[in-house]
């Protein structure tokens, strides 16, 4: 089972878009074999700090180890697949 955390900021059109892109990408890449937790840095800054996140949006693959972190665009692409699953 894959576990991901997505750190976004607020309920803005941009954040909504990031959540949509990541949700679709993960659904297509690992279907029901994943869990996605969304952390809003505005509501929970201490969690972002504790997790060493310095920018939004950040997508972290928590499991399986080793952890992987990606920042930037989460539009489905071969590059993103390689970063998270390659």
């Amino acid at each position: 089972m894959y576990k991901f955390k997505l750190y976004i900021v607020g309920q803005t059109p941009q954040s909504d878009n990031v959540i949509k892109e990541v949700t679709e990408f993960l659904q297509n890449s690992c279907k029901d074999e994943h869990v996605l937790e969304i952390v809003d840095i505005l509501l929970n800054p201490s969690q972002a700090l504790d997790d060493g996140v310095f920018v939004s949006p950040t997508l972290v693959r928590m499991e399986p180890q080793p952890e992987r972190r990606v920042i930037g665009s989460f539009k489905a692409s071969d590059k993103l697949s390689e970063m998270l699953f390659g």
Partner: protein, 127 residues
């Protein structure tokens, strides 16, 4: 022509650290020491990315971003601040108005500045 980046921060040392980070790169960086000056630059030029300080005298980061969005709805804006409730609560107004922005935590080193810039302008980056 390279991508154009605007740094808006009242602290000269912070602006210099960004300018230094972009030295000898493909990026062209402009600086503004206030929100008013930053918005003024944006009236006359198109930018691909903006780093914006939250806490500034005069027009603060929130007020500056509201003005920026009147001129450019698409440009990615990264608000540079501490990840602390005291500062982040000031951003609720932007959220209320559905104004998009991203956050980046202070302090930032050269490596982080370039990673964020690459991730915005050239696609995802792994940390």
């Amino acid at each position: 022509m390279g991508n154009r980046i605007l740094i808006i921060d009242d602290e000269e040392m912070v602006r210099d650290s960004f300018l230094l980070a972009f030295e000898d790169t493909e990026y062209e960086a402009d600086e503004a020491e206030s929100g008013e000056k930053g918005v003024g630059l944006l009236r006359n030029a198109k930018y691909d990315l903006i780093f914006l300080d939250l806490k500034m005298p005069g027009m603060n980061g929130v007020e500056t971003l509201i003005e920026i969005r009147k001129l450019d709805k698409e440009v990615p804006v990264y608000i540079v601040t501490a990840f602390h409730e005291e500062f982040l609560s000031k951003l609720n107004e932007l959220e209320k108005h559905k104004i998009s922005f991203e956050l980046v935590r202070k302090p930032l080193g050269r490596k982080e500045i370039l990673l964020i810039t690459e991730s915005v302008l050239s696609g995802p980056v792994t940390l």
